[in-house]
Each structure stands twice: as C-alpha cells, then as structure tokens.
C-alpha cells in the first residue's frame, strides 16, 4: 500500500513538473571559443533559472532579479559601511517569496571545521601537545526595508557557536561564541545628489559593523566566527568612486557568550577617514581614530589613544607592479603610563600577464612593542578593532600573531586557475619587535629578554572556491615552525607541555547564502 502510494506520489510530482515546466525558455549568455569550438556559455544564475523554469517565479520576475547585479544592485542600508562582497549576493529566499524590491531578506550560514595541535597559550594549561579541534558555526539573518529609497532600515542577527571545544585545554572565547545576538540594527538616510552637487551623503544611526580601508584598524570580521559591532552614528560624503570622507562616533559593543551584547559608555571610539582614488598609482587614505576605553577595573589596562595613519597604494593589474604602504602612529596613555606606538606595513607585488595570472607579493610588517616592562612609557601597538586573517594567517582557534610587538617579512604567491578559484601559498618569518614584551595575546613574556625574539616561520596553503556568490568553500593548512623563543626555559615554564613543538593548523569551511 505504502509502496503504491509512494509510486503515485512520484508519478504525480513528475507529471506536475512536466506540465508546469515551460520546455522553451530564453537563455542569456555569451559565445566563447574553447579548443577551436564555439560554445554558448550560459551566464544566467542557475538557481534563478531553475526557479523560472519550474514556474516558481515568472519570466518578468526573473528578468528583474537577474538584472540586479553590478550597477543595478539594490543597496541595503549598510552598503557604505561594509565591504560589498559581504552583503552582495543573490537573494533566492526573497525572490522565492516574491517580496517587493523595498524589502531585503537573506540568510547566511557558515560551517567550519578547524584543528590545531601543540597549543602554546598560557591559558591552555592542560594542552599537553594535544590536538584541539572545533566546529565553528556562524549563522546570519538580514532583514532590510527601504530598497533604493533615501530612508532605510536594517536588522542583522548573528548566532555564533562552536562544538567539540569543551576540553579544558581548548581555546574558546567571544571571538568564537556569541549566541543569538544583534549584529546590526540601524536606520540610514541617503541623499545621492546633495544640493545638486552630484555628491552623495549617508547618515547611519544605531548598531552597525564597519570596514575602513584595508581593515587593519577597524573591520567587520570575516574569517573570525564573531564580528566587531558598534553603537552610535556614522556619516559619509563622497563623489562616486573618486573620493569619500567618513566620520563616526560610537560605543564598541561588548560581546557576551549567551546574554545580549551590551553598550558601555565607558568605551568610546570615534574617528574620521578620507579615501581618494584620483590617481591609480597614488590612491590614498588618511585617517584618525580616537579611543577612550576605561571600562576595565584594572586601571593599568585602560586605554586612551589617538591613532593617526595613512595609506598609499595601487591596485594589482596584469603586467604591472603594485604596492601598498600603510603607516600608523598612536599617542595617548595606557593606564598611568604614556603610550607611543607605531605600525608600518609594506607590500610590493607583481601580477604576471600569464595564464592563471600569478601574483607574487612581498610583505613587511613592523608593529612596535614595549621596550622596557616597568618604565613610564608603553610602546605596544594596539590594532584597535582590526582584522588579521588575510595577511597574517587564519585566526579562529589558531592565529598567534597580532599586530603588536612584531616584525615579519614574507612572501606570497596567488594564482587564479579559474575565475572562481584562488590558490595561495604564503611564507612569513616572525620576530618579536621587543624581546621583553608580550608575544601577542598568548600571555607569554620574558621580561629579561633573554629568550630572544625568534618566533619561527610559517607556511600557509589556501584554496578558495566559489561556486557562486551564494556558495563557497575555503580550505587551508598552516605549518608553524616554532622558533628558538619557545625553547627557552623562561617561556617553556609558561606554556602547556609540548607548546614548543611545531603547530599544524587545518581548516575546511563551507558558506551558503540564500
């Protein structure tokens, strides 16, 4: 009986699909030559096409949604706050639900498995050289109102959690776990032609995530399982892609594992950022960030900084050299000591005009560290709310290297065998800038400086494959050859057993957006 019912259900489904499926449908694409043959390459989005071909959406609706790419993309409220790649993708769910243009709806889920061995952090007391693994899950929902109108609203919720990380030696904090929370909740006002000048201005108020420049000082974290968010306002004015000026005044959001994240008026962050793209060889950014963070009980850790910086760069192009220089200077007080620190970054690259467009890149980073532990001057650079993943290595439960007390030269080779496939190999050498200061946030420090500053070197392999803007995979492996620093007696006593042995880190992740 059951078998018969199943059979008829199958037959009915088949009939329904056959009956509703328009056998003929216009296809859009381009003609390309491959191995001497001309082939019609369909450039349509396969999911939208499937929706149309099965009658889920009408042809008219299909053309509307498939046109919404590139310049026709409908901006959500956070378009000028965050990187476009983070918020621009096909909204299948919205299209499937036949929602009007002025409503935005999207879901995103990322699952990552990661594993690292031979932990070295002082907090990982029971490490014993064991392999530590976790599944990190990050889910987001976006709901926006307003479409292309001047007034817009956005809610973005995020749920970040991890599994397999309950062992005592595991590394787990609010960079990994932050359950059911509000990542963005904001209103925005956009005027695309202020007083007929052709300038565009945007005003945002509420909770928001922000990206500035290359994201070294302020970032909406991408690889990390949780993201930095801020409560306050943000204003920008600019002329297309040529230049823009941004200003903001916010309270950084204090993340909590399970309860709602909170504002804290004892932590204030403000700044201005100017970007100019007038000249391809001299694209420039200039910025100022102010931070007054006095929320910690320990007065010695309270931070009041002014951070000034600038960036000069040229975007990579085949057959041309490219470069990036970023210089950042920090003044103020840390606790009762004066604070003066700086960070310098240099990239020189060349993209070969060859198949796979190989790009060879040389990196150099210098982030100042504290010269003397107990004097009245603090020199450890503070990276504020920056991201590190793309130039230092994977973060998650691994990355030991922070933009503080660090010297690191290195190189990287990037190839793109297909437009949606990126392969990278990176090699960097790591030193402490000041031997007597902390090593990143590991808690390791030899105040005598006798342990030296050789942190070793690492090799990273990475493959990123994007099936589309809605589905992508990311795989990576890092081998960290630990340096002599970790074999010194003063450091050995602070680490979990086996922390001086080389660490291997592996991850595999998949991200789905609908």
């Amino acid at each position: 009986m059951l078998k018969s019912m199943l059979y008829w259900a199958f037959a009915f489904t088949l009939l329904t699909v056959a009956a509703t499926n328009p056998v003929h449908a216009v296809e859009y694409g381009e003609l390309v030559q491959k191995d001497g043959q001309w082939i019609f390459k369909n450039t349509e989005d396969s999911v939208f096409k499937l929706m149309r071909d099965t009658g889920w959406i009408t042809n008219e609706r299909y053309y509307q949604v498939s046109e919404r790419t590139g310049k026709n993309w409908i901006e959500p409220a956070d378009a000028v706050l965050n990187q476009r790649r983070d918020i621009e993708w096909n909204r299948y769910l919205k299209t499937g639900l036949q929602l009007p243009d002025w409503i935005d709806l999207g879901l995103e889920q990322r699952t990552r498995f990661e594993s690292v061995d031979h932990p070295w952090r002082t907090s990982q007391i029971v490490g014993n050289g064991q392999t530590d693994a976790q599944f990190a899950l990050r889910s987001r929902v976006r709901f926006g109102l307003g479409g292309d109108g001047p007034l817009r609203f956005l809610f973005e919720g995020q749920d970040s959690r991890s599994f397999m990380d309950n062992a005592r030696g595991d590394f787990r904090d609010t960079t990994t776990v932050n359950e059911f929370d509000i990542l963005q909740l904001l209103g925005s006002l956009t005027l695309k032609n202020v007083l007929g000048t052709g300038l565009r201005t945007d005003f945002h108020f509420g909770r928001m995530t922000m990206d500035f420049g290359r994201r070294r000082m302020v970032a909406r974290n991408d690889y990390r399982n949780t993201s930095n968010a801020f409560d306050g306002f943000h204003w920008q004015i600019g002329q297309g892609q040529t230049w823009r000026f941004r200003g903001f005044f916010v309270e950084p959001v204090i993340r909590d594992f399970v309860t709602l994240d909170r504002q804290n008026d004892k932590s204030l962050f403000w700044g201005t950022y100017f970007e100019s793209k007038h000249f391809p060889w001299f694209q420039t950014d200039a910025y100022y960030f102010g931070l007054n963070d006095v929320r910690l009980r320990n007065v010695a850790n309270r931070r009041t900084y002014s951070t000034f910086g600038g960036r000069l760069y040229k975007d990579p192009k085949p057959g041309e050299m490219d470069y990036e220089i970023e210089t950042t200077w920090q003044f103020g007080t840390r606790g009762i000591t004066d604070h003066f620190a700086h960070f310098q970054h240099l990239d020189i690259g060349y993209m070969f005009d060859l198949p796979w467009t190989p790009r060879l890149l040389f990196h150099f980073d210098y982030a100042s560290g504290d010269h003397k532990p107990n004097d009245s001057q603090d020199e450890g650079f503070d990276t504020l709310f920056g991201a590190r993943r793309w130039e230092y290595g994977p973060t998650g439960i691994f990355l030991p290297f922070f933009r503080t007390n660090l010297i690191s030269p290195g190189w990287r080779l990037v190839v793109t065998p297909a437009p949606n496939l990126i392969l990278q190999v990176k090699h960097r050498v790591w030193y402490l800038a000041q031997n007597k200061d902390f090593f990143g946030s590991s808690g390791l420090r030899d105040i005598t400086g006798n342990s030296g500053g050789s942190l070793g070197h690492d090799v990273e392999l990475r493959a990123q494959y994007a099936v589309s803007a809605n589905l992508d995979f990311d795989f990576g492996y890092v081998h960290w050859f630990k340096g002599a620093y970790f074999n010194s007696p003063a450091i050995l006593t602070q680490m979990p057993a086996g922390g001086n042995k080389d660490s291997d880190y592996f991850y595999a992740s998949v991200r789905v957006r609908i």
Binding site: E27, E30, K192
Partner: protein, 251 residues
C-alpha cells in the same frame, strides 16, 4: 504493472502537450543598447512560436569579429547598418535579409536631476567629465561626436571627455559618478531601473546622422525556420510596439 504503464503514458502525453511542435533553437547576437527591449521581445516571440532563443549581448564590433571568425550565430542585431552590410557583402549573411529594425535615439543623461536643462548644459561646462562611447567602436559614440561637432563643441570639450568602450561602460561611468553626464541611448535611460530618474536632453536628430540599427540573418541559419520566424517577428506589430516603447523610432 498496468498502473505504471498508465502513469508513464500520462507523463509522455502531458510532456508532449506542453511542447510546441517543431520548436527550434536560434542563437542571437544582440547589440547591448537593444538588450532591454529584446528581453520583452524574446518573451513574446517564445510565447507565440515556442522556439527557443539563446541570446548573447555585447558590442556590435565584437560580434562582427566573432562572426568573421566563425562564431555560429543565426541572427545578428547590430547597433549600425555598416557591419550587417559588410557581413552580407562578405558572404556571411543571407542576401537581402538585412533591414533596419530600429532607429536609435541619442540622449544626454545625468543622474543629477537638476544638471541637464538642454543644449546649454553642454555649453555651460558646469561639469568635470562628460562620458561618450568610443566613436571608433560604437555607433552611438559616432553620433555623440557628430552632435558635438555640429554644436562646435567637439574641440573645446576634448579635455573633459571620458570614453567607454561600449554604451554599457559609458553608462557605468555616469552611474558611478566618474562622469557627471554623458551621451547614451534613450533605451538605456528608459530601462525600468533608471526610467524617470535624473535629467536628460534628447539630442535633436538633425545634429547627427540617423542611428540606423540593422538586423541580418546569417548564412548559417539560411534553413533555420526559427531564425526566419524571428526575423519576421521583429518586423511585426508586437515587436514594433515594444521597440517604440523603449524610445526607438521605426522606419
């Protein structure tokens, strides 16, 4: 067993019923400016005939060289008359199949609602950059150049011109704000996304040679009934109505 046989027969019957008889496929090259109306035309054509269209959109110059290099297009909708004529003369098109399917209209457009008030906007030079399609590759670029020459502005505006390789790129310059205004096709400005936005001046047709856009049945499709049906359809009342709605004139 009988039930299964019945189910499969039903499947075949329903599938057959939904498949128009003798449907064929047509591979069409369409100039970028004509893509917005063509999308509607293609729908109507598909509904009326059941034939399937595969559509490639791009610049006329690029299609011309692709066809010369053996690209198996069936029908070519060009942005000019010259390229279809050349292809016909070179034996790559079906003789006497070529005709003008639309006459393009050139407009000066800006996303700024107050910028363009007419010809005087061009003379006022109250802008930093003016975008046009490259006259070497785009018929609309030629028309823009002719219009500026007749207004005796061509030489004085040289330092302010930015040239797009195609009309699509030209529109991109304007939309991104890299150029405050530019010469584009009226059909682009009447596309649903932009319609009613910004300010525009419809360039009088006496300021440039007519932008006659020609369609050609290509030699490969001389026996393709679907391609022939498309050629007929494009000259028919349904298609003409759509073409006019997108701001083109008809012969």
């Amino acid at each position: 067993m009988k039930q299964r046989l019945l189910a499969w027969c039903l499947c075949v019957i329903v599938s057959a019923a939904t498949t128009p008889a003798f449907a064929e496929q047509v591979l069409v090259a369409v100039a970028a400016n004509f893509i917005p109306p063509f999308r509607e035309i293609a729908l109507e054509f598909e509904k009326s005939t059941g034939h399937q269209l595969q559509v490639a959109g791009g610049s006329s110059g690029n299609f011309y060289s692709q066809i010369k290099n053996g690209a198996p297009f069936d029908v070519f909708f060009s942005a000019d008359m010259e390229r279809p004529k050349l292809l016909e003369d070179e034996g790559l098109g079906v003789k006497d199949s070529r005709f003008t399917y639309a006459i393009g209209r050139l407009v000066l457009w800006s996303p700024n609602e107050n910028l363009i008030t007419g010809e005087e906007t061009l003379r006022s030079k109250q802008y930093k950059r003016l975008a046009i399609a490259n006259p070497k590759t785009a018929p609309y670029g030629v028309a823009a150049m002719q219009a500026m020459q007749r207004l005796t502005l061509w030489d004085s505006l040289q330092s302010q011109l930015v040239m797009g390789e195609s009309l699509g790129q030209t529109m991109g310059f304007i939309e991104s704000g890299n150029a405050q205004l530019g010469f584009v096709a009226l059909s682009q400005v009447l596309a649903p996304k932009i319609k009613g936005k910004g300010s525009r001046w419809d360039v009088p047709t006496n300021l440039h040679e007519p932008i006659n856009q020609g369609v050609l049945l290509l030699a490969k499709a001389k026996d393709n009934q679907a391609a022939k049906a498309l050629m007929e359809f494009i000259g028919g009342p349904q298609a003409k109505k759509i073409i006019e709605r997108y701001g083109y004139e008809l012969k």
